[in-house]
Symmetry: D2
């Protein structure tokens, strides 16, 4: 489905070469200040134009179609739309017969039985993620109504190298693409968010993260390194009454519930599937292997633009967790340390 | 929430030292054969008793309380209950003041404001996962109504070593625990399952996987290695009309939709939090650091028993994806290769 | 589905002649006092034994299997089970070939393709509603955490008569059954509950009410009489700063949101389908009309026992609306009358 | 929430005097023919201009922003937008202090704490229902992929009279409004749709119906008359192997599941709240009773335009029930009459 969230509920729509893409946000509390300017910073981080990103540029101007009155959310669904511009639909027909390796061309053909929109990858385009970034602008405002919550997102490495600029340059030069590792750190999240058994903080965050195209893995805290560790190394002893821990191997989450320490996750982003160099793959219409060349505008490292999308996914997940926790909060406290 | 699934919908309940734990399954098609014997194999895989697992043993006998008539599912909710036996609730009170490092003691205290059941970790106990394993027995039967689907699950390494028996033995000897890496491979899944944008196959599977206690990371196909790769390496060229690919770096999923190749994922399981050796951590009631000793029955490597739980999580996720895909399947086909 | 509710989420299971029926409640805030005694009053109101009700009696003893610790909800799912006793499964086979008029026999046969449990109507039995009554005991406690909320439920008429005892007696004497009109009035509900567009207070309440077997109609406030009225008659002018209105033609709900006045609804309950007198209907196995006699224990007026079930449905609906409203409440107020 | 549906999932957005209103439809199977012309008939039925309807006219031209490719649904969300035109926002400020009787002004003020959009009733305007009518055009196409399904909707009476034209004329002349009774009959619905316990066909349909502004009551088949009937009168004996019944007191639904007979429901629509004549109500800012005059364009009988909206609500409900039933359909049949 294209709708997610129990309370903070977002619905994405749009195809790469359709008239518009956008998001409808439902369940946002009324009274939160919101203007079109609020979206500029995060949308800029997602923009093309930098080294290693596609040369397709778009105005990316958010249009607030509903849900805001007099500069504040009004309790009704917030619709943020983006016109599609700068569209070239010339070269998609070949991908119907020769599904691109690594793309959704084949699996979408099977699922939608040939009815999918093939122009510019249709609804599978990275273009659709702009709505998620827009929704997260609202999500972050909700989060900040609870506490001062700060997101710090960065690329740790690309193509296996920490010299990311160089790695991207080299990939581009060779008509190839590279994957990358993105870290997201969220400070200020209060203890108590997350709804186990099934809606643990990790479950909800990973659900959103794996919706972002090109993600291959998600880990929290020590992550895959924990598989190699001993309990005496991995456990995080508590050191103060706020629940701060000596280290943060749990990534700020115990038993699926936030513990007040930084939420810390890393995301493996695969190399972009569209590459300039030739690939040998099947022509399904003729049942023979052919050499495929994908022309057009490619990202050498999608994680450059994708980092803010992954941050957005995390923010939307946390906003929903926050509002659900608010709904279910006990009416009275029974914490023994605070009793007397 | 303790309920998950859009069509194949499962609800877990129970605490470690309560009267019973179990699962209620809703949305299972009628007419699927089901008896209490069907549960034996997977429940045995989850059982304690092997080297490196807790010595708490339970009968683990499934009681089919509803939803089955004359040896078949009848369309009503299927309730599978397990009595709790072999309970010792003696030693939990200390963990109210001194939350165990790595456990949910502190975060649950914050969320439930002191009202949580502290006996044997309450609803946070691994005991609750038995319901998930039971639900998966039904899920697998649904999956096999679509196609011959085979699960192969194994521990790749424990504590960083491929000699798993030895690693577990050593951890146990030293009063410690170790993490492990679990691989799940699912063969026979048809192309076309998964509901992007938000309910990609990876999103749904990871949602269930991260609900299983002690999971720190999930990766599909090449996973975190993809972050270091080039597109020309990572892309999977198609080689036959079934959509088989030359390699399987995507883990059987493109664009969030299954492509007919094996679903392949790896899960990082942390070392068990309860260890015999002493840990220095905060006594919240006195606001001072103390040495905590956790007595009782510990798992040296929870992944030994957890592997089948992770497989169960995957099976339940796939069953729901399968039924949702069935609901939304196009009424007629427009696949060009199949037209004439 | 057998699960309902966004936050206060209840799942029913069980068949009439199975081992047990019950309910699992998820999303209930921790810290609410709850014992098995709390259920006695409402369960008694649902009990058989009075004039005009079936002579099948059951112990109806609630068994709290999970979710309660030390007399309070603990934040985990609350499971309330009831053993089935006093079962006679002798005479159901004839209803497979000759579906009873007014019953679910035929439509269930079509939906479940013959796999449904036919014993005592299986999951379609009124027996299942006991779980709803149990859930409502918890729902009412949640509601009372917000405000003093009082339910007043009564039969307005049965078989068209206000002398209900007499009407029931006559129906029983003639081997027949009668319908009835039930009124539910809820005082103390604060203004602001209800989530239009789709989850208006009426939408949510009617959703639960129409789940109760035998309901044929629901109306709020003036209800069907409003269809015959003029706006100048039907509109409710406000008369004080609490939002009290001069009359209550809206049944306490404007624009799908509670307005602080009494919630007022009436429910049309059909006559029980099982009657002692002979009915001419189709034998599907022979494709010919036959005279059907339904032996066994019948309710002459199911609304006698059903009234508390309808009240329970309303209570569960309101509890979920209350918790959702809590989640989405604005963080700051902008009500002009309260500003200075 | 403004989103409804488990599989056929629709999300409404927009305010009366905002830039646009519309609907996003998710979960629609791919391959269904759809053009902007398909919407004309139902949108015309909802249009103003006839005797007794408001004189605010709008182009009501649907703009298909996504989800359709080459004249067919493509499996991605279908976004149908409508620009708002012909807006006059002059006179809403008085309703902040003097909430209009029968309107959502007061209850919305309480819920959204003053942040709601007051212009033209904001998101509470009947304008929003245009998205529901548009969604139903798609819903009806889905329904017709299952079977030939025909909707017949009509006003049975207005203001208590069967001479509806005359009743509307008189109401208008006297500066007043009148309620009406709407009947919806749906032929061709197969047996087997509906998901008890909670998602009975009546529960789902009534959920959607009560979301339509101004609905005060819903009844199926004999409806409230059933409360006055005997079982021997109300029961519907079966008369043929299709499950046809001699009469249709159940409105085509037994045990919450469709039985193959016509779905039959009646809806009580209240008189429009906005009337030209003076009303005595509270001025909250001054805490005194005042005479309120509501200027502007009023509907004398909203059911004239609302009938198609109620039909649309029913169609969307049935489409979701149909797709859910498809998901859960047994893989093999065990119906005894069909065995040999």
């Amino acid at each position: 489905m294209n709708t997610i969230g129990k309370i903070f509920c977002i619905s994405l729509y749009g195809e790469s070469h359709g008239k518009a893409v956008g998001v409808v946000i439902d369940g946002c509390p009324a009274g939160i200040s919101l203007t079109e300017e609020d979206f500029a910073e995060d949308l800029n981080r997602r923009k093309a134009g930098a080294e290693g990103t596609t040369t397709r540029t778009e105005s990316d101007k958010p249009i607030l179609l509903s849900g805001v009155f007099d500069g504040h959310t009004n309790g009704a669904p917030i619709h943020i739309a983006f016109r599609n511009e700068n569209i070239r639909s010339s070269d998609y027909e070949q991908f119907i017969d020769i599904p691109r390796p690594g793309h959704a061309d084949f699996s979408a053909m099977m699922k939608f039985q040939g009815w999918q929109d093939p122009r510019g990858s249709g609804h599978f385009s990275g273009r659709v993620s702009i709505g998620l970034v827009a929704a997260a602008v609202v999500a972050k405002k909700i989060l900040n109504s609870f506490s001062d919550i700060v997101f710090r997102t960065r690329l740790l490495e690309a193509g296996g190298s920490r010299d990311i600029d160089k790695a991207v340059y080299q990939a581009k030069e060779s008509g190839d693409s590279i994957g990358a590792l993105v870290e997201i750190r969220v400070s200020g999240v209060p203890a108590g968010w997350g709804e186990p058994f099934f809606d643990t903080a990790e479950s909800i965050i990973s659900h959103y993260i794996f919706a972002v195209p090109a993600v291959r893995g998600v880990e929290f805290g020590d992550g895959f390194a924990a598989a190699k560790m001993r309990g005496s190394q991995h456990n995080d002893p508590f050191i103060d009454l706020h629940g701060r821990t000596a280290r943060n191997g749990a990534g700020g989450i115990n038993g699926g519930i936030t513990n007040g320490n930084d939420i810390l996750l890393r995301v493996a982003v695969k190399p972009a599937s569209s590459i300039a160099s030739t690939q040998n793959t099947l022509d399904f219409s003729r049942d023979e292997m052919v050499n495929l060349e994908i022309h057009g505008r490619h990202d050498a490292c999608i994680a450059l633009r994708g980092a803010v999308v992954l941050e957005a996914a995390t923010a939307c997940a946390l906003a929903d967790l926050a509002l659900v926790a608010r709904a279910e909060a006990p009416f009275i406290s029974n914490i023994p340390w605070r009793k007397s």
